[in-house]
């Protein structure tokens, strides 16, 4: 019943919005999934409504001014250098009223906007939420979960899990150029600037998957630098977190063992880390639990065997200019490597 009412109210909202905004979507500023995005969405609808009314009124005034038309050349109408004083006075008063209304509207906007801005961060610091460090690289996201207990700290990439109903503080850093962290369903964007600290608060009120994308132009592959936020109930989140803090799976089958050898002897090891093996470089994304992620290549491809193979062999054809070199692995080595990577749950 509730869901039906919801659907109806949603449809009404859509009709109201006409063409200006669509409904639904996992990367959508007017489909809020948390309190921050919700207050921004409400601010948007307020401004949209008021501004639409103003727009229509101005256009009506312009159209009314066009009532008297003529096809005579301008020279046939003698110019009018003084309006009658009564008309002059009425028009002046109309303009003064219009300007006053404008000023009042702007003042209301200013106050509403300021209080909406405060609600984005107010009191969240006391709520003992979760702190996550996000570092922007050309063109992927490094994600590090902080904890007072060092054994609970772990690093992953491009996919951020958060518990539902808990405010999460993202500490934002830029590793090379300026990027911008933005998940529209959860809230506004913040820049990741080299040498500066910046932060954002997000909170998801319902479980779901939300897509975000770099919003500051950061070079060749700015278009394909996306991330996923997976909001899940606290117990599921705890389980996920528990699994992420583990070191990587030990290869069990022969093929997986061979795959690990391939990984450690091929160029892979120069850039990627897999905890529990000698691979410890942090130039590229940490692959300790690569098989647990939904996507690869900064949410460009879904994490399937075919995509992994394509990415390892020739990532440049998928995402031209990315920093991963081509790898000329033999077919058998490649299959073994895929077996190994897919075992890293």
């Amino acid at each position: 019943m509730t869901s039906k009412t919801n659907t109806i109210s949603r449809i009404c909202q859509c009709l109201l919005a006409l063409s200006v905004s669509s409904c639904g979507g996992i990367q959508n500023a007017v489909n809020p999934a948390g309190p921050q995005a919700d207050s921004l969405s409400r601010l948007w609808w307020l401004m949209f409504t008021v501004c639409s009314v103003v727009f229509v009124l101005v256009l009506i005034a312009v159209l009314l001014a066009l009532r008297n038309r003529t096809s005579e050349p301008p020279a046939n109408t003698p110019p009018l250098l003084e309006l009658p004083p009564e008309q002059q006075r009425r028009r002046r008063n109309a303009i003064i009223s219009a300007v006053t209304v404008t000023a009042v509207i702007l003042f209301v906007f200013l106050i509403v906007s300021y209080s909406a801005g405060r609600s984005l961060t107010a009191d969240l610091a006391h709520k003992n939420g979760l702190t996550i460090d996000v570092t922007g690289h050309q063109w992927w996201w490094e994600v590090r979960y902080n904890d007072a207990d060092a054994s609970n700290i772990f690093t992953t990439a491009n996919e951020i899990h958060i518990p539902v109903g808990v405010p999460v503080l993202f500490n934002l850093h830029g590793a090379d150029v300026i990027h911008s962290f933005w998940v529209p369903n959860l809230g506004g964007k913040r820049d990741l600037i080299p040498g500066k600290n910046n932060s954002a608060w997000y909170q998801a009120d319902k479980p779901g998957v939300f897509r975000g994308q770099c919003a500051e132009y950061c070079g060749l592959q700015h278009a394909q630098m996306a991330l996923w936020i997976v909001a899940e109930p606290q117990d599921q989140f705890n389980a996920w977190r528990q699994s992420q803090t583990q070191t990587s799976m030990t290869p069990t089958t022969d093929s997986q063992k061979r795959g690990q050898q391939v990984f450690l002897s091929a160029p892979c090891v120069m850039c990627h880390a897999i905890n529990g093996t000698p691979a410890g470089s942090n130039v590229g994304p940490n692959l300790t639990h690569i098989a647990s992620r939904n996507t690869i290549a900064a949410a460009t491809l879904s994490n399937t065997r075919e995509h992994l193979a394509q990415w390892i062999k020739d990532s440049q054809s998928v995402k031209p200019g990315n920093k991963m070199p081509q790898n000329n692995l033999g077919e058998a080595d490649l299959q073994a490597l895929l077996d190994y990577l897919q075992s890293l749950k």
């Binding site: 063409s19 200006v20 669509s22 979507g25 990367q27 959508n28 007017v30 207050s39 921004l40 948007w44 401004m47 949209f48 501004c51 727009f55 256009l59 312009v62 001014a65 066009l66 008297n68 038309r69 003529t70 301008p74 020279a75 109408t77 110019p79 009018l80 250098l81 028009r91 303009i95 219009a98 300007v99 404008t102 702007l106 200013l110 906007s113 300021y114 909406a116 405060r118 984005l120 050309q138 090379d176 150029v177 300026i178 933005w182 529209p184 809230g187 506004g188 964007k189 913040r190 820049d191 600037i193 040498g195 500066k196 919003a215 132009y217 070079g219 060749l220 700015h222 460009t300 031209p320």
Partner: protein
């Protein structure tokens, strides 16, 4: 005053009042003078003449044609981008090509089209509107054009050689410094320096002309609104452009000589670059559309057949826009770590600036209200402006709000907003201005039927391209992406936008055909086809090289509607030297005569020396030295060639101020207020 002097004065006065001359004698004298003026102000011919001509109308037309070519190039780039984005995962352009194209598109439209073409209309029309024979510094004017041309050629030569800049028109560090190897961003930085230099030259020329070369009687409170807009824009250029030249200069030195102004690893600050850039970048928006507002007032006045409603309010609105425009640059940086209270001031400023703009829109509606309108093409474009610009202004108010901006900043919502403001505030008025003033420039009218087609194609096409982008932005589509995934659901709206782009482009094509046709076969316009009120319509179409044979003494704000044909005129300016009348800043009282410099090759030489210095300087530091020496030589020659050098100082020639002759005027038409 001694008795004898008094007696002499009385005698002179008696002589003047008894002065009579027959109609035939007067006509013959005028004809002779006209011949002399034509000889004195003759434009040099041939290739040499083309390089040295300082006539403000010739320079302005070259500016307009050059800037329009850049507009078409920028438009073609936009079309390529729209083809690429028409469907998801498209491979029409590579990411590298796309990034170069959007950078060059933005750079072209901002620096090579919008600012120069607005200055160009000012350079053509301001002297005619204020009753001057030329601009204040004709050679600086010519220099400005050459510097601009060289900057534009530099950018496009690099672009066609696949060395086009690819760090965005804003070139944020560190992407544009440590992370952009090669010469691409160096080209961008030096091109910025060039075009800004040209804008500064244009601004100085316009301010000098407006302040000191107005016809007597055109006190500052009688200045046409077009001229006010140009004047305020020029002041904004003078305050804003040094900031971006500093940004591009420091960026170039970070890149070329390893300074670390913006390098965080060495104590530099990438945010400093953004402050410098946007301290220019936001006023730039007003620099582009305030002249556009200046085109609208004369068109509305001419078609409404009445004076503008609220002249004083209009002028004060323009001035306050010019001031407040410098106080809101931070709204481009709300996503950077700046404290919320600090950001709120910029929110307030960004919202307040819509009040003066609102005042102007209300005044225009009040002017149109109740008048009988003939909806010719110039007025159609002005009406299009109301739709487009008001919508862009309202989304601007939304972007001023910090929290809302955090959602829609750097998305296609902003792409929609900025095109609504700039195309609405500048391009629609500009096309209106083309239709309105083309007869003055060429003597022929543009076709009215093609004009209507042109307007409707542009208006419909424009809204089709940019309106859906608001929704794309809310749906999460960031700017400057060369592609997107089909799952994002952005495909339909992008396809609509791409179709709209081609309708918009066909509108521009109709305009080009119209211009080419009208230039050869358009209806002959006459001096004043719109029966308009300002002084440029008092001279022939196209105007003579010296603009005004007899500079009129202005009697009011609307000279041609207030009996200019009976007004007294300025007499006593030399017909054998390029002499101009210098008047006072506020009241336009005659002060002195001044000989205006004529054609010269040296502005070109200085521009070329600067080109050696800055362009070759990208490759070798020795070019800086060589270029500086060459520029020094060329500047020295330039100054020695000035007619006011040595015994011709203005003060000496100005000892005797020109007389205002009552040539065959009845006494009641004597100047009233000067």
């Amino acid at each position: 005053m001694s008795e004898s002097q008094k007696a002499q004065k009385t005698a002179e006065a008696a002589e003047v009042s008894n002065f009579t001359i027959s109609e035939e004698e007067l006509a013959a004298a005028m004809e002779r003078e006209r011949g002399e003026l034509e000889k004195t102000w003759a434009r040099p011919t041939g290739v040499w003449g083309w390089l040295t001509d300082t006539d403000h109308k010739a320079i302005a037309l070259r500016y307009i044609v050059t800037a329009f070519i850049f507009f078409v190039l920028g438009g073609l780039e936009a079309a390529l981008m729209r083809i690429q984005l028409a469907r998801p995962n498209n491979h029409f352009l590579s990411p590298d090509q796309y990034n170069q194209i959007f950078t060059v598109h933005g750079t072209t439209m901002m620096f090579l089209f919008a600012v120069p073409i607005m200055t160009a209309l000012g350079i053509y029309l301001v002297p005619l509107m204020i009753g001057a024979r030329d601009v204040a510094f004709p050679r600086v004017n010519l220099f400005g054009y050459y510097v601009y041309l060289i900057g534009g050629i530099l950018l496009y030569a690099a672009f066609f050689l696949n060395t086009g800049p690819d760090a965005g028109w804003f070139a944020y560090v560190p992407l544009s410094s440590a992370y952009s190897p090669g010469k691409r961003v160096d080209i961008w930085a030096q091109m910025i320096t060039f075009t800004e230099l040209s804008a500064l030259a244009g601004a100085v020329v316009i301010i000098g002309s407006v302040f000191k070369m107005r016809a007597p009687g055109m006190s500052i409170n009688r200045l046409p609104l077009f001229v006010w807009a140009q004047l305020i824009t020029s002041f904004m250029i003078i305050f804003a452009m040094p900031s971006v030249m500093l940004a591009s200069g420091l960026l170039a030195s970070d890149r070329l000589i390893d300074t670390h102004f913006f390098n965080p690893a060495e104590g530099g600050d990438p945010i400093l670059y953004q402050h410098l850039f946007w301290f220019f970048g936001h006023p730039e928006v007003y620099i582009i559309f305030i002249p556009g507002l200046g085109f609208i007032s004369p068109i509305i006045v001419a078609f409404a057949r009445r004076k503008i409603f609220g002249y004083t309010a209009m002028v004060l609105s323009l001035i306050s826009t010019g001031f407040i425009g410098f106080g809101l640059w931070v709204h481009h940086m709300f996503a950077t770590p700046i404290p919320q209270m600090g950001q709120s001031f910029f929110t307030a400023a960004s919202m307040v600036i819509s009040i003066p703009t609102g005042v102007q829109i209300f005044c225009w509606i009040a002017t149109l209200w109740g008048s009988r309108l003939n909806l010719k093409t110039p007025l159609l474009f002005v009406l299009g402006f109301f739709w487009v610009f008001v919508l862009g202004g309202l989304t601007g108010v939304m972007l001023a709000s910090v929290p809302l901006d955090l959602q829609i900043h750097d998305t296609f919502f902003v792409v929609a907003h900025l095109h609504y403001v700039l195309i609405g505030g500048a391009v629609f008025p500009l096309f209106g201005a083309f239709y309105y003033w083309f007869p003055k420039w060429t003597g022929r009218l543009l076709s009215e039927r093609a004009g209507r087609l042109n307007f409707w194609l542009m208006f419909i096409g424009f809204n089709l391209v940019f309106f859906p982008m608001h929704q794309l932005g809310l749906n999460g589509m960031p700017r400057r992406v060369y592609t997107y995934l089909p799952e994002t659901g952005w495909s339909t709206l992008n396809l609509i936008a791409s179709i709209g782009a081609f309708i918009l482009a066909s509108g521009v094509l109709v305009f080009i055909i119209n211009v080419v046709w009208a230039y050869r076969a358009g209806m002959v316009a006459g001096d004043n086809p719109w029966a308009a009120e300002s002084l440029e319509w008092a001279v022939s179409s196209p105007p003579p090289n010296f603009n005004f044979h007899n500079i009129p003494v202005v009697q009011g704000r609307y000279p041609l509607w207030e009996g200019i044909e009976n007004a007294p005129v300025v007499r006593g300016l030399s017909t054998t030297k390029r002499e101009a009348l210098v008047t006072s800043v506020m009241d336009a009282q005659p002060e002195l005569r001044f000989e205006i410099p004529g054609p010269s090759i040296w502005p070109l030489m200085v521009a070329l020396s600067a080109a050696v210095m800055f362009i070759v300087g990208i490759f070798t530091p020795w070019a800086i030295l060589t270029g500086a020496i060459l520029a020094g030589i060329a500047l020295t020659c330039w100054f020695f060639g000035d007619p006011n050098y040595e015994n011709h100082t203005a003060r000496e020639t100005g000892k005797k101020s020109p007389t205002i002759s009552p040539v065959s005027r009845p006494p009641e038409l004597q100047p009233k207020e000067i």
